[in-house]
Symmetry: D2
Subunit: 408 residues, 4 copies
């Protein structure tokens, strides 16, 4: 039989090779194929039109970086068996499999008692049965139960291949070049210290600092861009409003699966929940928003129109909470302008926090020439990491745009 290497074109990393059959089988499974219809960055494409990439694509990219990272470690003398390689690649491939429509934005809405990582684990276990236990090691690594710590650190830490892929990918598709990290450089500096943990060769320090500042820039310019934050916020409010209206007896047009979740009450995940959930994707929500533009409920109709026609409410950004008096005034204006009395539904303060580098929990370690590891921010050569260890919070006030044209 001829030796074939499946490859996928990826504009970000070049070619993605799929070196093991089980990886390909998981990719072909409908659970994974569903990720094609879940955008990686929610409604960010309203601000950055190129950001239409999907979680499917990200998962493949992260798998590719895992492969590259393991190759590098092997070349540095770290022993990694084929089973371990498969396990680590499967784990990262499936790490986001539990994401629902619009990824993070809605995970608290539809299955409000379930975090996407729990769902990922639940779906992984289901797939493990389908594939006769071939995913067991992957699940162990994903949960951090495998004895060689660096595998889990590659899957989930401040310097995991998940972050490496999504930062580079999001920078690529948004066109925000400040976030364009060089994943190849960073990975080539990875190593495993004698304690079995993931570390960075000391000479890679600036690549890591550059990665941390690039990430910080991406947060402020992209993920926490005031319009991005607003769009994500609106998605949540729309679903919240819809659930509320449904609970009040309204009959909102929606696909059957979405209707199911609008009606669902908090409980342990049932088989029905899972079956329905794995058939939901961005399209259910977009289609609902399109039709809810015509809802009798003014609030729901207003928000859906804002999103679908991209005629978004006004936002102001500040490094401090807004004065209650100022907010009150906006509500009053809203009521007057629209002739409504629940203007507070349309005026909100959105909060976003960022800790660029967490020096305490799971810090990044450098591997020094003497074989000892040292915390990045405690290295003599560090330039920035010690300076970005504090949390910053921003406040975004949103309120209807139209009347601002009149009153201000």
């Amino acid at each position: 039989m001829q030796n074939k290497l499946k490859i996928i074109n990826d504009p970000v990393h070049g070619f993605i090779k799929i070196p093991h059959e089980i990886l390909f089988d998981v990719i072909e499974h409908p659970y994974f194929q569903r990720l094609r219809r879940i955008s990686q960055t929610g409604l960010l494409n309203l601000i950055f039109p190129g950001a239409t990439h999907t979680r499917f694509h990200h998962a493949l990219g992260a798998m590719h970086l895992m492969f590259t990272a393991l190759e590098t470690l092997k070349q540095k003398g770290v022993k990694i068996s084929e089973e371990e390689e498969k396990g680590a690649m499967l784990a990262i491939l499936m790490h986001d499999i539990g994401h629902g429509p619009f990824s993070h934005a809605l995970e608290s809405m539809l299955m409000d008692d379930w975090h996407h990582e729990n769902l990922s684990l639940l779906l992984m276990n289901e797939l493990n049965e389908v594939f006769g236990g071939q995913l067991s090691l992957a699940i162990e690594m994903f949960q951090g139960k495998y004895h060689r710590k660096f595998f889990n650190q590659l899957i989930s830490s401040q310097l995991d291949v998940d972050r490496l892929d999504y930062l580079k990918r999001d920078s690529f598709f948004t066109g925000v070049s400040e976030g364009n990290i060089n994943t190849q450089r960073i990975i080539s500096m990875m190593n495993v210290c004698k304690e079995g943990e993931l570390v960075i060769d000391a000479k890679g320090i600036y690549s890591i600092e550059n990665f941390l500042t690039a990430r910080m820039f991406m947060y402020w310019q992209v993920y926490y861009h005031k319009t991005s934050a607003l769009a994500e916020f609106l998605l949540v409010k729309i679903l919240e409003r819809a659930k509320y209206l449904v609970s009040q007896g309204a009959d909102l047009p929606a696909t059957e699966n979405l209707k199911y979740f609008l009606n669902r009450e908090k409980s342990a995940a049932t088989d029905e929940d899972i079956k329905r959930f794995t058939q939901l994707d961005d399209n259910d929500v977009i289609q609902a928003m399109k039709s809810w533009q015509n809802s009798d409920d003014f609030i729901l109709s207003y928000w859906c129109t804002c999103v679908v026609k991209r005629d978004l409410p006004k936002t102001i950004i500040s490094s401090h909470p807004f004065e209650p008096k100022f907010i009150e005034e906006k509500i009053k204006n809203t009521n007057e302008f629209f002739g409504i009395n629940n203007g507070e539904e349309l005026v909100h303060e959105i909060k976003r926090k960022l800790l660029p580098y967490d020096a305490k929990k799971q810090p990044i370690y450098l591997l020094q020439k003497n074989g000892e590891k040292i915390r990045l921010d405690e290295s003599e050569d560090q330039l920035l990491s010690g300076l970005i260890v504090n949390k910053t919070t921003i406040y975004i006030l949103t309120f209807p745009r139209n009347f601002t044209k009149i009153i201000s």
Copy 2:
């Protein structure tokens, strides 16, 4: 008042500037915003996961290239007024505004008597009323009625900014680097000859030939990739089947607007048609396919499942039509395998033709040092253009995959 220049991040061209207010107004119009939900390359993302970019993005990119092209021509001494600049930019911005769901694939299905360019024109005229006649010159240029020919040639010819953008953009998002043309180089070689037509400075000949071969490679590797051709074909067959079933009295779940078109009969476009059409996008069709997986009709259900789960039928490619006997056998196998008697519905020959460079209709001209123009393929320096002037046809046979595993 502060002088503001709206800019949009574009990973392909860097930054897109919107230098005139009317451009911004058109972009903000719901007709144009709808293009955010229409993919540029249909279901190509099933093969190239990065190809999730939209017609909205392409239109902005083409507008940007138009701006760049006009700047270059001005620097070479071609007089272009601000009105003409606005007109040309508006025309290219709106050139695809009449596209329906999945762009080309379905244009013959929903409004089967209307080509997307007619619809574009119709919508442009509507917008022209909204904007008080500001689009008149743009429409004139779009229709090729403006007396300075090169404007229309920049909008629609073998070397227009439409092609320049979509080739570069599709290459960028698919990751197929063979199609990566250098738009900046090509545009910098544009000129206008004494007859007022678009020409290329003679020394740009290889950039143009490279563009023509890049385009050819994109067709064979991407647009006419056998799985791409199949996916596009399935989309058409699905809608065709749905229309047929509806005409037979079936009640297929779909959004109201999509239902409208499944029931619509050929006729002149009515206001109702237009209103409905401008509310349709990819989501209506995807959502329909998701639910039609459960249709009672085996054919419809089979195809929709193929697409949604990406478990596609088998394809074979050939440079010659397939033998009728061979096709018959596939139909027979299909009938046996599924226990049906209309297997011919699932076995099809798809045909794709390409003429890499049309030397007869609207040939590309080079501007020689002596000021005279010469046809690209007749230039003494041409290396390839004279060799790629013939039409090639490929034939793709598709039939259900499953039984092939058994019989071949």
Copy 3:
């Protein structure tokens, strides 16, 4: 007559257009052509093999960015006459014309009483005579005497097009991606405030902060890389030693022009000095080092061999000055190892200082929405600029490599 636009292929910026004839004339002058033989980054190519780019190329690139910057400002409503455009482009084109062999490294050696900017000015004045006064405005701008301040700020400030080009170009050719700034983004954010000074639109803040940190990374990773610092240091020591030996009567092989400068004594620049100087370039020095490998003087021979064979002395880096005792020991070892008694010639402490962002002298200003300017580091949105306003110093100790293999 046909309208021609001269263009030059530049891998960094794409195409460089030369829009005015006088620019082309200056480029063709032998003074400017000489820059083809002067490397932009001295001996950095010993560490980064791609860094073979020249000052000729950098000057063209900076001219291109000036053009782009002026175009952007014009689009924002800043009036700029054609004469001013020519002046600014000429000024930046010629800003480095006074550089001698290996640029910065040797400027203090050959004409030790002349700074390269004085020499640039002197040569500009000569060229101004050649071109009948066409360079007068350029010279005025270069000297900061022109009344519109932003022109000089584009030529020489913390955010001038000189820095923009050399950072991007050096990052490109070294392959150190941490320094890869997006010049297009930064330039598109430039503006002129009501005081007539160069400012940055407030929303461009992160592009600027990214530029400042990229610059910082380039210094520590590239320009102040310990081997880079060493190579530059050796160049200076070699020329110093050669001058010393010549002053002691030695006859060192060298080109006539280099010999002239080895013999020259401090004085006002004579016509002969200038004539000789404009015929010197990197080749004179490289050729000299190649032949001085065979010098009778051990020190000169040792250093030249180190550089030519790239068998460089050892370096240790520290954030503190080295202990005198430690240095003494290295000198002692050197004397013993080589059987010499002037080992102190081969053991040196090299010092490098960096101030990433100078908040006091010529700070960078942001243009706020209200039309007022604010200092970058005092903006509420700044993330890093306020943190990198202090000077850092590093210390590099160099000593012969060979005996370290034995003793340590």
Copy 4:
């Protein structure tokens, strides 16, 4: 001992790893370091200012691609031992070690009876002695004597890593994007057929055709650009003239080593020849041209001035030989203009031939799904390779520029 992986920054391929100690040792040898002072593309930087890259850099890049190619083959199941890997990497690393100043241009001048590949082999054998026979397998592969053919095909064939690197590198540094091949794609399509030969997986056909046309474009736009051809031609004529003058007793200033070769007569390579040759590089020739500008011989002085000041003679290009009468006239004009009687020295017809794809000698093979190989140009899917199998010749006439301004 810590496991270290030497890495070099390469702007073209990212990072170049040096996985074996012997590779590093060869790189550190002065014979190899000399390549730092030999430009990859001769005087091409007179036309493309970025093209200052060196043969040193190219050799490292080719070594990197060899490593990548072998990794790919291993992943496809081809067994390759560590010794074979080292051998192949060493062979490609040293393949150009015999190049003299300005690479190809002058190889026929200095050692006119020795081709650079002979010299490479001679120097490899010398190095093999230095390194105790560690290079024997590499030399065997280089000569095509090793029994597994694909190793030699990776070193030297129509699709070897030498071509892959230099095309990509030259495209990168010149900025001529038409030559920008995707080496990663091409290598990922490499395979070894059952006969042990290098083949390309059938689906890679368009990447290969794109490579062939990219190469063709590079030849016509870059390597055979009329000014490139002229510059290379002048180099040869200058050295020829210098040798002639020396043979007539002239005393031309030059470095000792260059003088040696100006005086050398054809003979078997002596030890002295080799010793001298390995000390020569571009600088010897540039320095000579700089001083020969002042030669008493008008021809030599004229040419050297042309090159050093980049004030090049006129060129006309044609696809046919020039008429003798036309050439005669140019000679006559030259004589009159300069008042000389050997004008024929300054008027020359330069000829360049290109065969884009040689279908007969060492054709490229595709590996079909059935395991059989087929010639690229005979494949049913080929689009271009069958069309570019003929040799093309161009003719460039050069003559002094100045008088053309007067007479034409």
